[in-house]
Symmetry: C2
């Protein structure tokens, strides 16, 4: 089974307190596609300008990402510059140039319309909705969002939530969306807004997955050093969706989703070990499975039969 | 096997944004003793004044807590008043009256000196050291600490760390002690200071347990409402120590410690469901085991053989 992924494709300039890297491949769809590609074929929907480096196209191809849905248009690719604090949870956007992204109207190639798993990466809820409306055979729809959309396009976001299976967002965004301090209350409030599941990312504290009657707490894989947290959330969502697709099932139970969360988290833990997609691009399936086994030892506290 | 517990015994006045309760049984040794009592006999070392309510003495007795090490002296019992913010991680001490605690010099009854598990509850490191020096057959020593001791008695705390097996502290205290932002780095630095293990409590985000080469991430049991977080950390430490004692072993491996962390966390999750020791005092072993089974489902993501 394939995953349909829509989101931004960007050229990033990223500063941390220790390093600065320029002209990096970025954007939610880029990270999500490479994350998902560890498990399944990806149908990518996005837009880039004529300046988009050919090496990035080659990277996508080498990961088994189908590019029939990638629009390459005259103009410049979306650009983002950001700077991280010593506390890497704190980041400042230095500049955004929408460029060709400003006129992006995602259109699904016919071959994409039956894709069973759909990941609506972090872009505006109205673009997400526009893609969802064209994906008529979706079995499981994941949507990612962020503070910007909660503030500026709340009605559109609330509309989207009625049509998706899982909402992915971080802890502060869950609190912002629901105006609840308790994450458990916030999660339950989100489930009342439509999605069957919600995944709340907590950075170094891991991730929670909730349905109306189930709960899963996933720790974060322990890392001494984080080089660049950009794209961790997108990689998580991509890995999650890719893993589900690889199960090749008509419907998914909570235990499937738990493992999808674990694989998403572990891919994110590799992602932040270097800038851009550098580490993921080097990563082997064997390394991922080794970290999975290690993580099982770190999370389970008893042998269950 | 029994647990030796030393710490404060207090009368607390506690305000949250919703409720206020006065004249409550509190103090690190009180919570820790009741926590440990779910698994093993407790030898309590502490001091109270002549005003200490008889009902609290009865409570300790009903939990199988030995009181040969409890000094009851002329004067008033230690008193603490505190107020919690809407965000229950934030609390303000409104008043402290040391009273009889000011002259506390813990002296172990001879019968206590061979207790195999020792929990040095949250009191000054010099008092903790004083108790440790008298406990000559300790197989496993747990020490709890707090920001106050890190700031005001750092040399004494560093001295104590060389003689203990496990240090328990919260995330901000781990960062404060080591001046490291990364909790993983902070934990490894603490292990260099002496203890074989460190447990970092993260409130609603659970708890990490680390040795030089092992790692365990324990989630927090999901609670919609927390009524009073007072004593959660002490209950955690008590439950941890009590569980170890119940294993009746000469030495403990990392898997034993993982389960001790889980039981400690679950007891703490009951503790915060009401004020003072109210909930723990009503709690049955069956309820604890039921929550343990539920928590296993919430934490494990795969059946391991």
């Amino acid at each position: 089974m394939s995953v349909l992924i829509v989101g931004s494709i960007a050229i990033d300039n990223i500063k941390t307190q220790l390093e600065e890297h320029r002209e990096l491949l970025g954007g939610s769809a880029s990270y999500a596609s490479v994350g998902a590609s560890f498990f399944s074929p990806v149908n990518l929907v996005g837009i880039v300008g004529s300046d988009f480096p050919k090496e990035h196209i080659e990277l996508f191809k080498s990961r088994g990402v189908d590019l029939a849905g990638l629009q390459i248009v005259d103009g410049k690719t979306f650009r983002w510059s950001g700077e991280y604090d010593w506390d890497m949870n704190v980041r400042k956007t230095l500049s955004v140039e929408l460029n060709v992204f400003e006129t992006f109207s995602p259109k699904l190639p016919d071959a994409y319309k039956g894709t069973p798993i759909v990941l609506l990466g972090n872009i505006s809820p109205s673009l997400q909705k526009h893609v969802l409306d064209q994906a008529d055979s979706a079995r499981f729809v994941v949507a990612d969002t962020m503070d910007l959309w909660i503030t500026t396009t709340r009605p559109e976001l609330l509309g989207l939530l009625k049509g998706i299976d899982l909402l992915v967002l971080n802890d502060s965004e869950a609190r912002q969306l629901t105006e609840e301090t308790s994450l458990i209350k916030a999660a339950h409030n989100i489930l009342h807004l439509g999605p069957k599941y919600v995944a709340i990312k907590k950075g170094e504290h891991g991730c929670l997955l909730l349905s109306k009657d189930r709960f899963f707490s996933c720790g974060a894989f322990p890392l001494e050093d984080i080089h660049d947290p950009t794209g961790a959330g997108d990689t998580f969502a991509g890995g999650f969706a890719g893993y589900l697709a690889s199960l090749d099932k008509k419907a998914f139970d909570f235990d499937d989703l738990k493992k999808a969360v674990v694989y998403g988290s572990l891919l994110a833990s590799f992602c932040v070990e270097s800038f851009s997609l550098e580490r993921l691009n080097q990563l082997t399936k064997k390394e991922l499975e080794d970290r999975y086994e290690l993580f099982k030892l770190m999370s389970h506290f008893e042998v269950i039969g």
